[in-house]
Point group: C2
Chain length 409, copies 2
């Protein structure tokens, strides 16, 4: 065994989160060429299946829907699920209870948040700044929000935000971690700058929530959105969430005022009166099957401090970068992910010639990351279920693949 292989063994033995891996279904995938257990480094695209989800969902389907039917809206807690599950996410992103509601896709929540932010900013502010390096949907939706609120949209890099802020700035939409490079942006500093300029800060937490502490309340974030199918393991396309800081809720004016956000939904009144608190961010009937699968999935976090997750995440990505540096022929890949811990999320992005083909071969050998157009190999490290031996193996298989070898394994 190599020196790095032995280091990996020691690191795994000392890993206080190692036991959490058993809360997931992970070893079912062994149908790749190498025959060995797979290494799943794509939890930043789709989190692995928590072991308690299938049984829970079966109960939701057979008993709650099949037997109790409409009674479940009350008896099984369906009606209050969006806020209840929001409160379950809250501690993971540093939010007190009562500020997060689950439902709809991330894109729909970006629309609510950006339009809501412009309305909170008030008259005379008619420019929206958006992270130019953002995941595309944020930019597309921000453009629609700008068009529909009479604002101009101005793409800037996060670093340019402080300079770009001004009296006209209504809202600023930023990503906490860049989906492509894995760069972690300065949420406390940028939020502070946005607020000092009298604008409203909207953060997209898709690539940070569940991987590192976010500190929404502590840093005075105004609005935030995030998905739940990456580091929160809610399942494919599981519902997203919206955070509206408590003191802004009374003025939050949603562009999607569906009946579920009414103060008295079953009053069936012709006039809209918004609910107080987090439920104001609801829209239509909540998608119960997906939502309760997510609720079960969040139980894997019981007793897991997000600070421990962050520490392990940095150790994993450090170790991966070290293994890559040692194993991969010089010059063959270039890391796009910052070396500095304070600038790194929980993924490593490697620029690589022929990245699409390389990722295909890695997946055939059981090392699952993903390819991002045009030339990026993306590897996500989910501290809840990825270990150091996984990391060493992934780097070794990557190096072998790049050398055109198939030795080892």
């Amino acid at each position: 065994m190599s020196e790095l292989g032995m280091r990996a063994e020691k690191l795994d033995a000392a890993d206080e989160l190692a036991g959490v891996r058993a809360r997931f279904v992970l070893d079912a995938v062994s149908d790749h060429a190498a025959g060995a257990a797979g290494v799943y480094l794509d939890g930043n695209s789709l989190g692995a299946l928590p072991a308690n989800v299938p049984g829970r969902l079966d109960d939701v389907v057979r008993r709650q829907w099949g037997a109790l039917r409409i009674r479940s809206w009350e008896e099984s807690g369906w009606w209050t699920a969006p806020e209840r599950i929001g409160d379950r996410i809250a501690p993971l992103v540093g939010a007190a209870a009562g500020q997060i509601v689950v439902g709809d896709s991330t894109s729909v929540n970006v629309f609510k948040a950006v339009v809501g932010a412009v309305r909170l900013a008030g008259e005379g502010r008619d420019e929206i700044l958006v992270d130019a390096t953002t995941f595309p949907t944020d930019g597309y939706i921000a453009e629609s929000a700008a068009r529909m609120t009479g604002c101009a949209l101005r793409p800037v890099t996060p670093a340019e935000v402080p300079e770009a802020l001004g009296d006209r700035t209504a809202a600023v939409l930023l990503n906490h971690v860049d989906y492509r490079t894995g760069r972690l942006h300065d949420l406390p500093g940028l939020t502070s700058a946005v607020r000092a300029a009298g604008a409203v800060a909207v953060w997209d937490l898709c690539h940070s929530a569940g991987a590192l502490p976010v500190g929404l309340d502590a840093h005075g974030v105004d609005l935030a959105v995030g998905c739940t199918y990456k580091y929160l393991n809610g399942g494919p396309g599981s519902p997203a969430y919206l955070y509206v800081r408590a003191d802004l809720q009374d003025r939050f004016d949603s562009p999607l005022p569906g009946w579920n956000s009414h103060a008295e939904p079953f009053g069936m009144r012709p006039d809209y009166t918004p609910a107080a608190g987090a439920p104001r961010g609801r829209v239509g009937t909540p998608d119960i099957l997906s939502m309760l699968a997510l609720e079960a999935a969040l139980e894997v976090w019981d007793g897991v401090p997000i600070e421990a997750v962050r520490a392990k995440s940095l150790a994993l990505t450090d170790f991966f970068l070290e293994c890559v540096a040692q194993y991969v022929p010089p010059g063959r890949v270039e890391s796009l992910t910052p070396d500095a811990h304070e600038e790194r999320g929980s993924q490593v992005a490697l620029r690589c010639a022929d990245a699409g083909q390389v990722m295909k071969r890695l997946i055939e050998r059981g090392v699952v990351g993903d390819f991002r157009h045009p030339d990026v190999l993306r590897f996500g490290f989910t501290p809840l279920y990825v270990g150091f031996a996984d990391v060493e193996r992934a780097a070794r298989v990557l190096a072998e693949t790049l050398r055109g070898e198939t030795l080892g394994g």
Copy 2:
């Protein structure tokens, strides 16, 4: 057995759809006071569980998500599910393939459709007509759409629409079947009037799709939305759908242009280029668990012509009204549902003093309908699984409840 009880037996014996009931899980609910099998007349709120759904969903969770993980986006057909399932719904509402996409809640789809309709109507048209008797969410969302497109919103009854149409009318949002009274509106005639005025017709099919033929293509409907958890039995909060007529798709301009509606979603391009066809109505990542539960649920329609469903639906509601007239003390309830078949959906709404308490007692005795504020008992008749003996029993229990008796059963 009463004469009506005997009639019910004969009607059930002659019912060509009687066998479809076995495709549902129905007899698990027997925990009401009377001890007999329940009568579920709330399929217009939440459809019963199709028997094939639990097994299918378990496979989606354990194999597709748990074992294949991200590979399922291609290998399990996750990516194309919204259009594929839309095409499965299409024949039930009289639409050719390629015009319906599944996803998001009904409320979100109403927003897409109404804003899209105003944009299709073009410059100079700045008024939206909305059904004043509508399910509240349609009115709330139409109001937001009006506000965000610079239109005025004008509530009218469906009967007033032809008179209210004019050069300024951009869009008209109507319900095919009124959620409260069960009245079926004249979709062909109203659509024709709206189009003749140069406006765009948007229909909400929540209470008609799966209960009666809609004929979207035949009647030249422009845009339509609907839920899937009522007569389509998709499960609690299952995703809704959007219909955009084929010849309007190139000009359909969604207010929610998420990355899933991009012509090249994985190009991750900063500029938005909308996809052609039905996928233009997509927004964010589809909610796969709920969506594939719906896909399984739609299999109960195999070999079931919607015309046969309509014929049985009318026979059921006729029979219920007859039983109520015979059993219930005169003057105790008043039907809000039209007698004329061409004006009746698949539910019967009875105005009744103390309706909330009455429904509570009915449910205790296993007859499940629902109460709609302030004084309506609502009974939905799903022809796929409700039989004539159910109908006779429901009317009998209602009469007994209203007389304060608990005899029979």
